[in-house]
């Protein structure tokens, strides 16, 4: 299997403050990779650097071998990388169906088409229906996204993220704020929708991480201090000291 996503000596500074300090990382195609680390470690910043919301100060991001650092988000998306957001980031006054439909249009090739009636696009309709079924919101089809429950909004967030069928999916704390039952459902959903895809996720819930991830990277103060399988990360002393010990002590 090839390398889907590679970070090479990635740095990001805001003024004099260095947030990401020389991160290098390789995620294999088809791998489920989790990034963990204490608050303020730079996990979200790292996500922003990869997805194009921020441009790195130096270093490279490669998607399937092609450099994508510094490209705008939509260019990165078009090359096959899609991300979700930690704070739900959907189209609030549009229905569940419309939210998902917007997420399918570009990848199905409809782009800026202002000549084709939207309702007649069969591929869009089928894909949207399938997505709605996937995330379990078919019964909520015409409900405004803003009035969904929190767990439903999180599911919709995932639905919008995978709508275009991107090969590399990045999820930023997909189960944050969920209760145990909801979290379990979310994990099942993530497992299902990322089947055969590359997954990179930031997650705080260690059960979710050890349950889902093939490999884990630990980010502390902008550096990756370890990348390994869940079992070996659990054994790693440095990681325990920096992160896991802290978590169990809290």
């Amino acid at each position: 299997m090839g390398v889907a996503l590679a970070l090479i000596d990635l740095n990001k500074s805001f003024g004099l403050t260095q947030i990401i300090r020389g991160v290098s990382l390789q995620v294999a195609a088809g791998e489920r990779h989790a990034i963990i680390g204490p608050n303020g470690a730079g996990k979200s910043t790292l996500f922003h650097l990869i997805s194009g919301r921020l441009a790195p100060t130096s270093g490279e991001v490669r998607l399937n071998g092609e450099r994508i650092d510094g490209l705008p988000p939509f260019e990165i998306y078009r090359r096959g990388l899609s991300r979700s957001f930690q704070i739900t980031n959907i189209f609030p006054r549009m229905s569940v169906y419309e939210n998902l439909r917007c997420a399918t249009l570009w990848s199905l090739g409809h782009k800026y088409a202002f000549w084709t009636p939207l309702d007649r696009l069969r591929d869009v309709r089928e894909r949207t229906d399938w997505l709605m079924e996937c995330i379990g919101l078919t019964a909520r089809r015409d409900v405004q996204a803003a009035v969904l429950t929190y767990a439903e909004q999180r599911a919709l967030e995932i639905g919008v993220t995978i709508g275009g069928g991107a090969n590399v999916v990045m999820l930023d704390e997909p189960t944050a704020g969920m209760n145990a039952g909801e979290s379990e459902q979310a994990v099942a959903l993530i497992r299902q929708v990322t089947e055969g895809k590359t997954l990179v996720m930031v997650e705080h819930d260690m059960d979710v991480v050890f349950n889902l991830a093939d490999r884990i990277s630990v980010l502390v103060y902008g550096r990756v201090i370890a990348t390994d399988t869940p079992a070996r990360i659990r054994e790693n002393d440095e990681v325990r000291e920096a992160y896991l010990g802290q978590a169990s002590g809290a």
């Binding site: 997805s51 194009g52 705008p72 988000p73 939509f74 998306y77 078009r78 899609s82 991300r83 957001f85 980031n89 959907i90 189209f91 609030p92 006054r93 549009m94 419309e98 439909r101 917007c102 997420a103 249009l105 570009w106 990848s107 409809h110 782009k111 800026y112 088409a113 202002f114 000549w115 084709t116 009636p117 939207l118 309702d119 696009l121 869009v124 919008v160 993220t161 709508g163 275009g164």
Partner: protein
């Protein structure tokens, strides 16, 4: 079969409305008013492509309306001079092309950012163009503006468009097709992504779209249709002047769209009809008509942000539930209170207008609601004050009944 019927009947009804209106209102002034309404409908809908659909508040939309009109009128004069056989019916398209050209040019600058930055740039461009209209006199015609004579263009199947009824039908046909085209646009992938940009311009970039490109295309389309409206106006009045691309005209289209309701496609149509009607009739009745516009606008912003269309849709939903009757008692109670506050407000405004503006030259005697009153005496002032304060107070007291009635409705 039935679905295509359901799709078609509103359009058939609209076409019949356009065709039948002159049969009912056939006077010259009514035809002129309806022609202006048609132009304003196109203008307001084009404005709402930005505000309602894409979430872009433009303070300079009249630029594209006005420039479309000016280019159209120069085109007409050029065609007359060159004796080229182009009929007047295609002139609005010239206006549209001009609107599009300037929309593309200015859109490249202004649509780079959304929100406040967009609004500020639109204001700046509006001022730029309207101030240059006093400098570039050969193009804009200075104070007098540019005139033309539409009847000197080539006839179209024998029609020379000398009479207002011919112009009305020209406007009506253009208006019908522009409404249909702009509605169709909202139902395409591009139209839906405009809504997505309005809702969350950031997320759009993470489903593959450049929000800037969407804003730019929307802006170009919007300027195109505004240019058509301007071209029709040039044909209708045979004159264009700098006022028609100025800040006041830009404000007017915002007023129309907002009062009609920016959240619904038909909203700006209603707004354009209502405001055009008021603009023409009210200015005959009172000198303070612009003040009433301002108050109307503030009233809608504060109390009915959904506009006329939003208000109507609420009641349609209630009617579909067959529960409109539940609202009747509360409405019955609040109506007299509202009427009293309205009458009181009108009295105070008119009395003040008389005293402040006209009393010195024309005396303080005036007619108010059909009564002879003296604006210098205490009586009418007191009555106006009592009506206004009493009406507002009563409305304030009774209004909970209305909210209560709506509450009982949604829970049922």
């Amino acid at each position: 079969m039935t679905s295509s019927l359901r799709f078609l009947w509103p359009w058939l009804a609209l076409a019949m409305l356009f065709a039948g209106a002159p049969q009912i209102y056939s006077s010259g002034s009514a035809l002129t008013m309806m022609s202006v309404m048609g132009e304003m409908i196109i203008f307001a809908l084009s404005f709402n492509m930005l505000l309602g659909q894409t979430g872009l508040l433009s303070f300079g939309h009249a630029v594209y309306f006005g420039l479309g009109g000016f280019v159209a009128i120069h085109a007409m004069n050029a065609l007359i001079r060159a004796k080229v056989g182009v009929p007047v019916v295609v002139i609005p398209l010239v206006g549209g092309a001009a609107g599009l050209a300037f929309g593309v040019l200015f859109g490249l600058i202004s649509t780079r950012r959304a929100g406040l930055v967009f609004s500020m740039i639109s204001l700046g461009l509006g001022e730029l163009v309207s101030s240059s209209s006093f400098i570039l006199r050969s193009f804009f015609g200075g104070e007098e503006g540019i005139t033309t004579n539409r009847t000197k263009l080539a006839p179209f199947f024998g029609h020379k468009f000398g009479s207002q009824i011919e112009v009305y039908y020209l406007v009506a046909v253009w208006c019908f097709f522009c409404i249909a085209a702009m509605y169709a646009l909202t139902r395409t992938p591009f139209g839906r992504m405009c809504n997505a940009v309005r809702e969350n311009g950031e997320r759009v970039e993470y489903v593959g779209y450049s929000a800037q490109t969407i804003r730019f295309i929307a802006f170009s389309f919007s300027a195109f249709f505004a240019g058509i409206a301007g071209g029709l106006t040039a044909v209708n009045f045979e004159i264009m002047n700098a006022q028609q691309l100025g800040a006041q005209q830009s404000g007017l289209v915002l007023l129309m769209s907002y009062i009609g309701g920016i959240g619904h496609f038909a909203g700006p149509i209603l707004g354009a009809i209502l405001i055009t009607f008021l603009q023409i009739t009210l200015s005959d009745v009172t000198n303070a008509w612009q003040l009433y516009f301002g108050l109307l606008f503030i009233g809608f912003v504060l109390f009915a942000p959904g506009g006329l269309a939003g208000w109507l849709m609420l009641h349609r939903d209630a009617a579909l539930k067959r529960e409109l009757w539940r609202l009747a008692p509360a409405y019955g109670m609040v109506a007299p209170a509202l009427a009293a506050s309205f009458a009181g407000a009108v009295m105070l405004i008119e009395l003040a207008e008389r005293q402040l503006a006209l009393a010195r030259s024309e005396g303080s005697a005036m007619r108010l609601f059909g009564f002879e009153v003296d604006a210098a005496s205490m009586g009418p002032w007191l009555m106006g004050l009592v009506l206004f304060c009493g009406g507002v107070g009563l409305t304030w007291l009774v209004w909970p009944k209305v909210t209560g009635a709506w509450g009982s409705l949604t829970s049922a």
